[in-house]
């Protein structure tokens, strides 16, 4: 199978397998994605999942989606994480929609910024509490901890992020006591 065909096949099967089970808002979001997917090469994230990931990444770390968060997260889920980790992430992600619906009756991507921030902050607090009560290893397994880690790590290792952090290009010299 040619790569392009494979991509089309993946997009089709990931996005269209259960239209009748989707809420109207999801259908709207899906329509936007089918006609204007950000990255046709995504292999794990369906178009609506990618939109959710990108919207959440922007609130977690402003600028992260523009620096390629979705593609990096998709790559990691496809080729780096274990199937168990991948499923945990994909099973957890819809919780963003669930929580936004219960607040405002809308999916995450259609919620106002303040509501998105409130939902993400609550999840972040839950992971922090988990870290305190059950330790880092357990907390890091939480699907939101995965999303946040991948967002932050991906940004800090992107060209945009490394330039913004002053880590690229290299200085070409050593100064052991430079002024900030």
């Amino acid at each position: 199978m040619e790569r392009r065909e494979l991509i089309q096949w993946l997009v089709a099967t990931a996005g269209l397998h259960a239209l009748d089970s989707l809420a109207p808002a999801d259908l709207l979001a899906l329509g936007r994605d089918v006609h204007g997917s950000r990255d046709p090469a995504l292999r794990v994230l369906s178009p609506p999942a990618e939109r959710t990931v990108a919207a959440a990444a922007e609130r977690i770390l402003p600028g992260a989606p523009a620096a390629g968060a979705s593609a990096f997260i998709d790559k990691m889920l496809a080729d780096w994480h274990t199937p168990v980790e991948r499923e945990r992430f994909l099973a957890g992600l819809p919780e963003l929609d669930t929580r936004c619906r219960s607040r405002r009756g809308r999916v995450f991507v259609d919620c106002a910024e303040a509501d998105q921030v409130a939902v993400l902050t609550a999840l972040d607090d839950e992971v922090t509490a988990l870290r305190a009560s059950r330790g880092a290893a357990i907390a890091n397994e939480h699907w939101f901890a995965m999303l946040k880690y991948l967002t932050v790590y991906g940004y800090c290792t992107s060209e945009t992020g490394m330039r913004a952090l002053g880590l690229y290009p290299i200085a070409g010299r050593y100064d052991g006591c430079a002024r900030l």
């Binding site: 609130r59 770390l61 080729d79 780096w80 880690y149």
Partner: protein, 553 residues
């Protein structure tokens, strides 16, 4: 008529030196390298940014788990440098299930000299006399005076930056200008001097990285990850320095993809006549003949070749006395102040605290000693990866630097013990059908006591320097082999009944066979060992060529 005057097995740290010294002294020399050729322009990846790597530096987790699960334990193994380590599936070995040993292996032109830590420290008679003084194992057949001119010779060629300190037990060399200690390291040096005087000294690491132009190589530009290669050839490796020098003589033949199975021996003459090798790509076997053979394949590989040849082992010592350096003891602490200061550039070097135990005093719990490596710095975005918070506050946090933190990590001497041993595995073979090794190696109580003391002494140093939140290491001792300083498996000595090699690295049993890699070590010292291997190699080459000219080989 032989194919070559000399055959060198291995093209890494010591093989490169043998190639340079033998060719420069007129010998037509064949270097056999088990792995692939390396072209710096194609294979060095130190400047490739993370966003050009598939996993941004996190490594190909699944492939590593399947093919490099042992090699990946090395501190310098990463997504860039993993190509400089072997494939574990093709190169198996065994250990007792409850006693792991990390056998790190590098098969390419340059060997482990591409990925080494570059720290270089001379030994002194505190080390060469240690076994006889403590009545441990056997005495070294040489003393510092025998090796000193060869340390000079090697250091002048490779280029070592460092600070002369005048310590009798860590002799100075012809150093290039030292790299800079950062603000906090300078502070700790001064406070340690105030408290301990000359008994505990903090100095900048002595490192085979250039700080000035040297022998046609450029000074370091502080990009950081030396273990991924160095296009400016600023750190020493055989690819960057010794092999080009050997090639310039016109007498070098370098054959990659050449796995030496065994040595060919003529019992009538009691000489090795050459080597039997397998082409790694075609898997065809062939022989090369030479007048002398140098084994420079790394400590365990050279022992494996000797065992597979059933040669040079009348003492029964081949494969025994496996040593490494014990590590993962030490402590770190934080410093208030210097909040308006940071480091710029990645210094490929740290601090060094030369051995201070059992130098002028006597520690009640152990013999020998350890040195500390480490350094001070401020954590950047990595420390914020799991920090609480989201949004602009998190983004701001990523560019904030943490408090200055100073760490000391000990590297301790391991005693030679016959029961720490590599033997030929009765059934296990590598991908080329060559019998591989079974390795049994554990720390003794002396090393474990030293490891415990590293935590105590490091905390003392930090306390003297005024650090707060002093935290001892809690990881326990390193897995044997993990320091990548394996040695001792064909030791030098004064008596053919108890050693494999004489004082010139010449096999007692086979006069035209030399071994000059880590296998030769009679004790381990606590210093990073490559400099000593290189000096021993150059010295042995000089001797071998003289003997050859005299017709004695």
């Amino acid at each position: 008529m032989t194919d070559f005057d000399a055959i060198v097995v291995g093209s890494g740290m010591t093989g490169g030196w043998a190639a340079k010294e033998l060719t420069e002294r007129g010998l037509r020399t064949l270097v056999l390298e088990a792995g692939r050729p390396i072209a710096p322009e194609r294979d060095y990846v130190e400047h490739k940014p993370p966003w050009e790597m598939p996993f941004r530096g996190l490594g190909d987790r699944r492939t590593v788990a399947a093919r490099q699960s042992t090699q990946s334990h090395s501190v310098s193994f990463d997504e860039w440098s993993h190509v400089f380590w072997t494939d574990d599936a093709d190169n198996p070995y065994s250990t007792p299930p409850d006693r792991p040993f990390h056998w790190f292996r590098a098969r390419q032109v340059g060997g482990k000299s591409i990925i080494w830590g570059r720290q270089v420290y001379r030994w002194s008679d505190l080390d060469f006399e240690a076994n006889v003084r403590d009545a441990v194992a056997i005495d070294w057949p040489i003393r510092y005076a025998d090796l000193a001119p060869w340390y000079d010779h090697v250091e002048r060629f490779i280029g070592v930056s460092g600070q002369a300190e005048g310590l009798p037990h860590l002799p100075d060399g012809p150093f290039l200008p030292p790299m800079e200690l950062n603000c906090v390291e300078q502070h700790v040096r001064q406070r340690m001097h105030a408290k301990f005087g000359r008994a505990r000294v903090l100095t900048i690491g002595r490192v085979a990285v250039l700080t000035t132009p040297h022998n046609g190589r450029a000074p370091c530009h502080y990009c950081g990850p030396c273990h991924r290669g160095c296009i400016t050839r600023s750190y020493f490796s055989s690819v960057n320095a010794t092999l080009p020098a050997a090639r310039a003589t016109g007498r070098l033949t370098l054959r990659p993809f050449s796995i030496v199975r065994s040595l060919v021996y003529d019992a009538g003459k009691n000489r090795v006549t050459g080597v039997r090798m397998i082409d790694a790509e075609t898997k065809t076997e062939r022989e090369y003949t030479g007048r002398i053979v140098f084994l420079c394949a790394s400590a365990l590989e050279s022992a494996r070749i000797l065992l597979n040849s059933d040669l040079a082992n009348s003492s029964g010592q081949v494969g025994r006395n496996v040593m490494d350096h014990i590590k993962w003891g030490g402590a770190s602490g934080e410093f208030d102040g210097w909040t308006d200061r940071r480091t710029i550039g990645e210094r490929p070097n740290g601090i060094y605290v030369p051995r201070f135990r059992n130098v002028t005093s006597r520690h009640p719990d152990f013999i020998r000693g350890y040195g500390f490596q480490g350094g001070a710095g401020r954590a950047g975005w990595h420390a914020a990866l799991r920090a609480p918070g989201i949004g602009p506050a998190l983004k701001a946090r990523l560019s904030q630097l943490g408090p200055w933190t100073m760490s000391f990590a000990g590297f301790g001497e391991m005693l030679p013990r016959e029961e720490n041993r590599a033997t030929l595995h009765p059934t296990l073979v590598d991908a080329w059908g060559i019998p591989t090794l079974h390795i049994e190696c554990t720390w003794s109580e002396n090393e474990l006591a030293m490891h415990r003391d590293m935590n105590v002494a490091a905390a003392e140093l930090l306390e003297a320097a005024g650090a707060r939140h002093i935290e001892p290491r809690t990881t326990g001792p390193s897995t044997p082999g993990n320091t990548n300083h394996e040695m001792g498996t064909a030791r030098m000595g004064r008596d053919p009944r108890t050693s494999v090699l004489n004082g010139w690295n010449q096999a007692w049993d086979v006069p035209n066979l030399f071994v000059t890699d880590g296998a030769v070590m009679t004790s381990s010292g606590n210093q990073n060992p490559s400099l000593t291997y290189m000096a021993l190699t150059a010295r042995a080459c000089h001797y071998a060529v003289e003997q050859l000219k005299r017709g004695d080989l």
